[in-house]
């Protein structure tokens, strides 16, 4: 008997370590997803589903129903819902980036002694129920709510109406505006945290080097700080964009007839129409929709990890 080589033992050890998350993903993601996929191509038979494969008169009969997927492509409703989900998620991501970047920047440049306190403040909203915080916006944005009054007093509602975020001045609730506001408010910390962790690690001497070579603070920001925080921007954007696409609660509470999103469609298919195969088809399509940017992201992450000296 020879003892297994060190390399062999290492390989076995690595396999054991990787097995745990792999098993987790297999049991709690892959299997349920396969079930969902199966349902999406099944025929409803009263309250149950027909088998996909049946032995019939000595021949194997496949019974895969792709009608749901066809409907997804053909019916404008689904297509426009997907599009509007992507649109609102994108707008929210951009809004979070514009608010979150300066936020994270000043946090990262604040005196080291106050940084933990600032970090705490960013995470403070998580201490209250998410539902409660979103619901609070309803009160703030209805007619004569504080936020509504402030927006009215500043004349911002005319601007919002002009860019089409609200149908008419004075009407803030259940509009694209209230939806994007709610999602931006909710997901802002997910943008700030990765950006902060990225920006706080930046070598400030690089800014001095840029200044020495003739760059003003503004130019140095765009040519050095922003490119170097790319990984943080991508991470933050993914963390905001992906959950926003499938968001259900916020569109339900703050959205309106204009802001149909895929999460609500899902809900309707499951619980109002009771059409599980259709709902599952919508789900599969949504997962695919999200997996593509996620794959791009993780590939970028892998590359940048490799590149690190």
């Amino acid at each position: 008997m020879t003892k297994p080589s060190l390399r062999g033992r290492l390989r076995r050890g690595r396999a054991a370590v990787i097995a745990i998350p792999t098993l987790w993903l297999l049991v709690f993601f892959m299997l349920p997803f396969l079930v969902v996929m199966k349902i999406s191509v099944s025929e409803m038979d009263g309250a149950t589903f027909q088998d996909l494969v049946r032995l019939q008169d000595g021949s194997i009969a496949f019974n895969l129903k792709f009608a749901n997927y066809l409907l997804l492509v053909q019916d404008d409703l689904y297509f426009s819902t997907y599009l509007s989900s992507l649109k609102y998620a994108a707008v929210t991501t951009v809004a979070c980036l514009f608010i979150g970047y300066p936020f994270a920047y000043f946090m990262a440049r604040a005196r080291p002694t106050v940084q933990p306190a600032l970090l705490m403040l960013v995470m403070l909203p998580f201490w209250t129920s998410f539902l409660l915080r979103v619901y609070a916006w309803k009160g703030l944005l209805t007619e004569n709510g504080w936020a509504a009054n402030a927006i009215d007093a500043l004349g911002l509602d005319h601007v919002l109406a002009a860019v089409g975020l609200i149908p008419a001045p004075g009407q803030l609730m259940n509009t694209p505006f209230s939806l994007v506001l709610g999602m931006t408010y909710t997901y802002l910390p997910f943008m700030i945290l990765p950006l902060y962790s990225n920006l706080s690690k930046m070598d400030l001497r690089l800014l001095e080097a840029a200044a020495d070579l003739g760059a003003t603070a503004w130019v140095a920001f765009w040519t050095v700080t922003v490119p170097l925080s790319r990984a943080g921007i991508i991470a933050g954007s993914m963390l905001v964009f992906i959950p926003c696409v499938g968001e259900y609660v916020i569109p339900e509470l703050l959205g309106g007839p204009q802001t149909q999103m895929i999460g609500r469609t899902l809900w309707d298919e499951f619980f109002s129409n009771n059409d599980w195969p259709m709902a599952c088809a919508v789900t599969v399509a949504m997962v695919l929709l999200i997996i593509v940017p996620l794959a791009v992201f993780s590939r970028y992450q892998a590359e940048s990890t490799e590149r690190r000296p």
Partner: protein
């Protein structure tokens, strides 16, 4: 090295020096980092600020670059006051300690960074960057990112980047500090050659005396924010102005004593273990406490008492007897520690000029040390 700049400095008919640092003070929260420093630097000179960490040399360099504002005093470059000019408007460039290369840009783009900011036309920029790459022999590495380069290559990119804009003044912050010893020696010579080729006026900061000695035409030794001595490397080594400089630069034996004879051509200092007959005059009063600085390589050592010591009137001077208490062999030379009767230790270094020398000293041997009248220096502060 071209000494034209230095001569210009010494010629009273010449206009004001190229870089003039006048009475600069810098305070940080009540702590004085730079204390009334004035230096004149001529065009084409390579000037080194030498001192241990925290001596104010880096703060001084950062004030030249514009990253710090002097509390008082003025800096003029080529007749123009630099006060109020932000770093990005100063006609000088800096090579940063550990380089501060932009990690997201290629070697080419790192070098072009400053040229882009100056809005140089694309054609001219390409030519300049290529010339710089050639200068530092990195043409083949233009498309690499900094992390794909070795330490020595990164150092050359940093140099090329800081020279690309043809600055009037080049600042070097510990230019070789991030390299290991072997590479440092090679790079030192290479760096000196490039600076000489380009002919740029240069102020460097270093804590490494060898680096300062080999690269600079003049050195300023700093301690606790003050300038202790400014001079050519040889001057600083052979005629240190005070105890600190003597001790900081190279190895030295410092012996405290009393001035017992003070003539224009020589002085006699009496120390615990010996009397020094020293071939230069000083301004002092008889009986005053002084320090004699004696470099280890300027002492001869042997088993027998020296018959004569050149320039010395009689056998009472410039010799000491002791026991070898320590011996370190360095290959090209050996350092002996002689324990003198008073308990003081005299360091002596001897070149190993022959492979095998009979009767070499070893631990516990009695030995005589002797030195010429031109070897010691009397320090009054």
């Amino acid at each position: 090295m071209d000494n034209g700049g230095l001569c210009a400095l010494l010629d009273p008919m010449q206009p004001a020096p190229f870089l003039q640092i006048q009475d600069i003070v810098k305070d940080f929260d009540g702590h004085r980092a730079v204390d009334h420093v004035s230096i004149d630097i001529a065009k084409g000179e390579v000037f080194a600020l030498l001192g241990s960490s925290g001596c104010g040399k880096t703060t001084l360099l950062r004030m030249l670059a514009g990253f710090e504002t002097p509390t008082s005093g003025t800096i003029t470059l080529d007749g123009h006051d630099l006060a109020g000019l932000p770093p990005y408007e100063r006609p000088l460039n800096m090579m940063f300690q550990s380089y501060a290369l932009f990690p997201h840009l290629t070697v080419w783009d790192n070098i072009a960074f400053g040229l882009r900011r100056a809005r140089m036309p694309a054609d001219e920029m390409r030519q300049r960057v290529e010339a710089m790459l050639k200068l530092v022999q990195l043409t083949a590495f233009a498309k690499r990112k900094p992390h794909q380069l070795s330490g020595g290559q990164q150092q050359r990119v940093a140099l090329a980047r800081s020279l690309a804009k043809k600055p009037q003044l080049l600042l070097l912050d510990e230019p070789l500090g991030a390299l290991d010893k072997k590479l440092r020696e090679e790079t030192q010579i290479e760096l000196a050659h490039i600076i000489e080729d380009v002919g740029v006026t240069c102020v460097m900061v270093t804590h490494d005396q060898e680096e300062a000695m080999t690269m600079a035409s003049r050195i300023a030794v700093m301690s606790e924010g003050r300038l202790l001595q400014v001079g050519a490397p040889g001057e600083i080594y052979e005629t240190p102005a005070n105890r600190f400089v003597a001790d900081f630069i190279g190895n030295v034996n410092l012996m405290d004593g009393r001035l017992v004879e003070d003539e224009p051509g020589h002085v006699v200092v009496e120390c615990a273990d010996c009397r020094h007959y020293i071939g230069h005059g000083i301004t002092g009063t008889l009986g005053m406490p002084v320090t004699v600085a004696l470099r280890p390589e300027k002492i001869r050592v042997g088993r027998a008492a020296p018959v004569t010591v050149e320039g010395v009137p009689d056998a009472a001077f410039n010799r000491a007897r002791g026991t070898v208490s320590e011996m370190s062999y360095f290959g090209s030379f050996t350092v002996y520690h002689l324990a003198l009767p008073s308990g003081a230790v005299l360091k002596v270094s001897q070149s190993n000029t022959e492979r095998e020398r009979g009767g070499q000293l070893t631990w516990g041997d009695e030995a005589w040390a002797s030195w010429s009248t031109l070897s010691p220096v009397v320090l009054t502060s």
